[in-house]
């Protein structure tokens, strides 16, 4: 009998306490971010709209190696290679179909030149599906993105655009294979 009374009391008080605690939530701060008026903070490495960046000299970074295209799990990048008179490769066309992109960031990881980068912008809604296909002119930005100061050709050991072998940063002179001297 005593046990039953205790159970009844504790059960009733726990229900009442729950109701009271829920009611006290009226005076708490609300967690909602009122989105269109109030933008949430997104970290710089958030994976959103993709951009093609430029090197510090203002030239395109992309060398049309197609690595992003092959790494893309949904096959939404299409790159056409072009070559200028100095032998430097560049993308003649670069197209990303954002209606297929899953924002996985694999392309950014695959890119050897840090050309392709994901940005914290996700407001890409369109009424017309065709508008989700971004061309090179839509993708290219004028800045360096997340990698300031990086220029692929300045560190790569490739002869291109007036820069010869052994002239890159931190690069030793090419070894003369015709001599035995060290």
């Amino acid at each position: 009998m005593k046990n039953a009374a205790q159970t009844a009391f504790s059960a009733t008080s726990s229900v009442l306490r729950t109701i009271g605690m829920t009611f006290m939530h009226s005076f708490r701060k609300r967690e909602t971010v009122l989105y269109p008026e109030e933008k949430p903070y997104l970290p710089p490495r958030y994976r959103g709209r993709i951009v093609l960046t430029r090197d510090p000299d203002g030239a395109e970074r992309c060398v049309a190696c197609n690595l992003c295209s092959v790494s893309c799990p949904v096959d939404c990048i299409s790159v056409v290679k072009g070559e200028d008179e100095t032998g430097r490769w560049y993308p003649e066309s670069f197209r990303i179909n954002f209606s297929r992109c899953i924002y996985c960031g694999f392309c950014e990881d695959a890119c050897p030149t840090y050309a392709i980068q994901l940005t914290p912008d996700f407001e890409m809604g369109e009424f017309n599906r065709q508008n989700m296909v971004y061309e090179k002119s839509d993708l290219t930005i004028s800045g360096v993105g997340k990698r300031p100061g990086y220029n692929f050709y300045r560190v790569a050991g490739m002869a291109v655009g007036g820069k010869d072998k052994g002239e890159a940063e931190n690069e030793a002179k090419p070894v003369n294979i015709k001599t035995l001297l060290p």
């Binding site: 109701i19 009611f23 708490r28 701060k29 609300r30 909602t32």
Partner: protein, 325 residues
């Protein structure tokens, strides 16, 4: 041949207008409960709820209504068509009929029945048919389980609901709701009849199958219970019917235990509205805070705890009434 005097015609007209106002008011209030519930649930869950359409999201319900009117009204080919169509109408009908005997102010009742309490109980019992028909006609196992649960729940909670009201009736010496309100002039029934109030409130919750007694439509286990197969405006009728139930039970609690329109300074209707609105909000708070019991717990709680308390309450009240008269 009967002669109609001008006074007769006027009184019929007056009743007709009153009926219309109360019907429209009840349905409007039930519809308004939807945004209020969503906003309040939001408040108690530390979020906002719908706050875009109209001032404070109040027009959300209008948008939802427009949407629901244009939805496909689908009747499953395996359903029992006639019963399937009738079911949602019954719940609206019985809930709205029950409003007829509620005295909003001394002059504002549609039917001043001398058996008002019994009429109410009868109407709320009839409501169970709607749910059973819906579950049966849907020919869907979830709907049927939901309907079975409702049947058991409503029939057993009906008993304590009636018994808990007997105390109030004894104190007032009348089944007429208007007389019951008048009898509370000195002291609201909630004080001498506190156990009855608690039982009535719990039973009312179960009667309109609101959380925590929403087993018939337990989303997690039964998809949506008895209205799983319903779509479009038929589903909307069930929905509005449920909110009508909340408004009805809130009005009843106000009338039976909290002195209806009685109150200082403000006009009677305002008092009635404020009290009823408080209970409507309390129903929402209950939904926000309590957990759903298991089915056997629900039954055990009803028959083993509420029923004895209700009977003891009636016995003691009866004894006191006899002793003092």
């Amino acid at each position: 041949m009967m002669e109609f005097t001008q006074a007769d015609v006027l009184s019929v007209l007056g009743t007709g207008i009153k009926t219309l106002v109360i019907l429209v008011g009840a349905v409007l209030m039930a519809a308004l409960m939807i945004p209020i519930e969503r906003r309040l649930l939001g408040l108690w869950q530390d979020r906002y709820g719908p706050n875009r359409v109209g001032p404070f999201g109040s027009l959300q319900v209008v948008a939802d209504m427009i949407k629901i009117f244009f939805k496909e009204d689908w009747i499953p080919p395996f359903a029992d068509k006639a019963v399937f169509v009738v079911a949602p109408a019954i719940i609206m009908l019985t809930s709205l009929l029950a409003f007829a005997v509620i005295p909003f102010t001394p002059t504002w009742t549609v039917a001043n029945l001398n058996v008002g309490v019994l009429f109410l109980l009868a109407m709320s019992s009839l409501g169970v048919y709607s749910v059973i028909f819906a579950g049966w006609a849907s020919d869907n196992k979830y709907a049927l389980i939901g309907a079975m649960r409702t049947a058991a729940q409503m029939i057993s909670y009906e008993v304590f609901m009636g018994l808990s009201l007997l105390g109030v009736v004894l104190l007032a010496g009348s089944f007429n709701l208007g007389d019951i309100v008048e009898s509370q002039r000195g002291l609201w029934n909630v004080i001498p009849q506190f156990p009855a109030f608690v039982i009535f409130f719990i039973a009312g919750c179960a009667e309109i199958h609101r959380a925590p007694f929403d087993l018939p439509e337990a989303e997690q286990e039964l998809t949506a219970g008895y209205h799983t197969e319903y779509s479009g405006m038929k589903f909307g009728m069930f929905f509005v019917g449920e909110y009508l139930g909340i408004v009805l039970i809130s009005c009843l609690v106000t009338v039976l235990f909290f002195g209806g329109w009685l109150g200082p300074v403000l006009p009677g209707f305002v008092w009635f509205f404020l009290k009823a609105f408080f209970f409507m909000c309390f129903f929402i708070l209950l939904r926000a805070s309590t957990v759903r019991p298991r089915y056997d717990q629900l039954m055990a709680f009803g028959w083993k705890i509420l029923l004895p308390i209700a009977i003891v309450n009636v016995a003691i009240t009866g004894a006191i009434v006899v002793a003092t008269s």
